[in-house]
Each structure stands twice: as C-alpha cells, then as structure tokens.
Symmetry: C2
Subunit: 247 residues, 2 copies
C-alpha cells in the first residue's frame, strides 16, 4: 500500500480524495485543509486535520491547493519524503523539499460533479527517478493516460489548455448570446459543436477548416460584422484575420 497524505479542500483535492479512497493499492491516511469545514464530509472515511504539525507519516504528500499557497505549505511541511503539487502552471521548484515532483491531472473540475479519472491525462514530473516511479504507480491507479512532462512543457500545456478550454468556452458564450438575442434555442448548435470536436480527433484542426474566413469570403465576413456588437466584432475580426493568415 502506498500511504498518501492529501493537502487541500477544493475541487481537485476532493476528486482526488474520492479516487484514492476507492483504490485498493493506495491508502489515503489523512486530509489536511486550513478550513476544516471543507473536508468534513470525508471525516468518516479518513483522518482530517487543519494543523500541518499534526500530519501523519506517509510515502507522499500531495499539495492540491491553489497555486498561490503551494510554496508556503511546502515551507511548513517537515518531511524528507516525496512532496508534490498538482498545478499545471507552477514549476517543480515551487516545492521546497529535496524530493519534489508534480502530479498534474489535466482536466477542468466542477464541484459536486462525478469525475471519471480514467479519462483524465495525468502529467508527472519528479527530480529523482525512484520518486517518478512512485508517482507513476499512483497515477496508473487512477488513469491509463500517464505522461512524463517537465516544468517547461507543463507551463506550455497549461497555456494551450486556456485556448482549448477557457477561450473555446467564450466562443460558446458568444454563440449563446447571439441565439438568445434572436429567440433561437442554443441547443440547435450542440451537434455542430460536438462534430467540431470529433473532427479534430481524426485530423489536424488546420486540415478541417471551413467557413468564410478560410474561404476569404469578404462579402459574408462584412455581412457578419455588420450584425455584431462592438465587442463581438473585435473578436470576429481578429480571429477571422488569424484564420485567413494561418498557413
């Protein structure tokens, strides 16, 4: 059994705790969170604490808190075993212990919504090979999609994720606005949205471009712009130009 102490009470920490509690080769020995109330729903299944000095011994400490608190929590931790964080944006060096690493599940987590970790890629990094193998064992308990990735790559991946997640969501949001303003049910667009995603799992996004921008259909582009509000128009213009100029 791999003994794990989890630090954090947010979305990701909560999902990780559930996954560990369901695993037969991982023993979640304790959850720490500054605010006990956020982890009290787990207290019947695992020891909980809000005092770092009371942490139990474990093979690995996983800091699953917000980016800004990782360093200070790591500084408070008195251990010479492996300590990792779960952030896509923070480097390995945010951990102050000698045996450091990263355990980064790449997904967007929503509170109270079940997560199937088997579908989630987990990106791993560790200073020492032996620690990497320990991380890999834990990760493979949760998901078959395990990737080795250094801090530089993870930082870039995180930026790519902003484009394909946050920015895509904003495009959906504008689509919804346009529909609502014209009494069109937004759900009409779901099949198109789904197909847009399915296409790029088979071919590169560049190979499946369609629409007025790639056709350089100036008449349609002008017509569309004339019907958008000024914020929408700025985005329409910039992305259309980017599409037209992409080789």
């Amino acid at each position: 059994m791999i003994r794990v102490v989890l630090l954090g009470g947010g979305n990701l920490a909560s999902h990780l705790a559930n996954a560990f509690l369901n695993s037969s080769s991982i023993e979640l020995v304790q959850i720490y969170n500054r605010t006990l109330a956020h982890i009290e729903n787990k207290k019947n299944r695992v020891s909980i604490t809000n005092t770092i000095q009371n942490l139990k011994k474990a093979d690995i400490y996983i800091i699953a808190t917000t980016d800004a608190t990782i360093e200070s929590i790591s500084n408070e931790l008195l251990t010479n075993t492996l300590v990792v964080h779960t952030s896509g944006a923070m480097p390995n060096s945010a951990i102050k212990q000698d045996r450091k690493g990263v355990f980064y599940p790449l997904q967007t987590f929503t509170k109270n919504e079940e997560i199937d970790f088997r579908e989630i890629p987990i990106c791993l990094e560790a200073t020492y090979t032996e620690d990497y193998f320990l991380l890999e064992k834990i990760a493979k308990e949760l998901s078959p999609k395990v990737y080795s990735m250094n801090s530089e790559q993870r930082k870039k991946l995180h930026i790519a994720a902003v484009f394909v997640n946050n920015f895509v969501n904003h495009m959906y949001s504008i689509g919804e606005d346009i529909c609502q303003e014209n009494n069109i049910p937004f759900e009409i667009l779901y099949p198109l949205i789904e197909e847009t995603f399915h296409k790029i799992t088979k071919q590169s996004p560049k190979e499946v471009r369609t629409g007025p921008a790639i056709r350089k259909d100036e008449k349609t582009l002008a017509l569309h712009k004339s019907q958008l509000n000024s914020n929408q128009k700025k985005i329409y213009t910039l992305i259309s130009e980017a599409i037209a100029n992409t080789k």
Copy 2:
C-alpha cells in the same frame, strides 16, 4: 411518395442524396450538377443531368449549391412548384419562384465521411404554410430535430455557428501549435476539450467559466502572454479581456 429533384454536386448535396435514396417515403427522381463528373457515382441509382432544361417534374426542387450560385440557378428553373435552397447565410428571397423556402441542415459536412442526419438539426422556412408542411415531412424523414426559423434568425444562427465552429477550431489549432512546438502530444488535450463541450450542454457557458481571465489572475495572464508569439498574444489578450468583462 414525395418526388424530389436535387441540384448540386458538393458535400451537402451528396449527403442529402444518400439520405433521400435511403428513405422510403421520398423519391429522389434526379440530380442536377453543372459538372456531371461530381455526381456520376450516383448514376446507377438515380437519373443525373447537367442540363437544367432537362429537369424532370417533382414536388420540390432543392438547390444545394454554393451561396453565390443559388440565385442564378433559381432564375433558370422553370417551374411553379416549391423551390428551396439549403444555405444558412442566404435569405428566402434568393429563390425567385413564388413558392419559395429554405431547408438548412446545420452541420459541418466533410466529403467521404458518413453523416448521421438524425443528429443534425434542420431549419425550415417557407412562404406558404402548405409548402412548410411539405418541407417538414421531408425533414422529419431525415432528423427528429426540425426547427422553424425565419431568414433573419437563420442569418444570426449562421454567425453563431461561425463562433462555435470555425473560431473554436482556430482555438484548437493554436493549442495544437503550442503542443507541437513543445513536443507535447496534442491528444493530451482531447479529454479537456470534450469536457469543455459536455459542460455547456448542462449549464450555460457563462456559468462554467474557469481560468486566469475570469479569476482576474493578472500574474498568470502576464506570464502566459510573455510566452506567446505576437499573433497568439493578440488573441489571448482580446479574449481574456472579453471574458473578464462579460457579466
């Protein structure tokens, strides 16, 4: 049996022809295309022609050609039965016949790829109610997702589709670029991309916003921008501002 003549040899026309040929209550009596070669693969199952004057009699003529050619084809058509086009961008009035309408399947079609019309919303418009009901009969043969929509709504829907399809695809494309430049397999992002879509089928895109822009996390925003090329940075900046300013 509803007798249909189809005009066009492109992606959509080809998919529609297959769907009609598989329907038991629609009789596809003829396909017209200026270039016969594009429709010759259908000649064993249906009459084909490249001469408008040779068109057979039918209950409906469906012009499934590019936007720019709809009006001229309609002008050449000598019939007093129902004539419709299949374009999201063109108004009803692009059809010159008195009995006019629109039969617009909202999807992105790729050549040689099977399409399941049952998943595709079809937006209908007709000047005369009787013609609308005929269109509805045909549409329901293909898909349960049938919507009545006037030219103004369809025009707006088409713009919304550009955002959720073409522009989303460009976000995927930038994500792929960033991955490739850093030796990261783009497929790592598929589960995130899929979840981004699934979320908005349950909640409004505005309710599921995450990421540095909505958190107004200036440190991360600046860090990300510093690592993008100038075109990527322009898009990152504009969309991040738009997200931060969306109520």
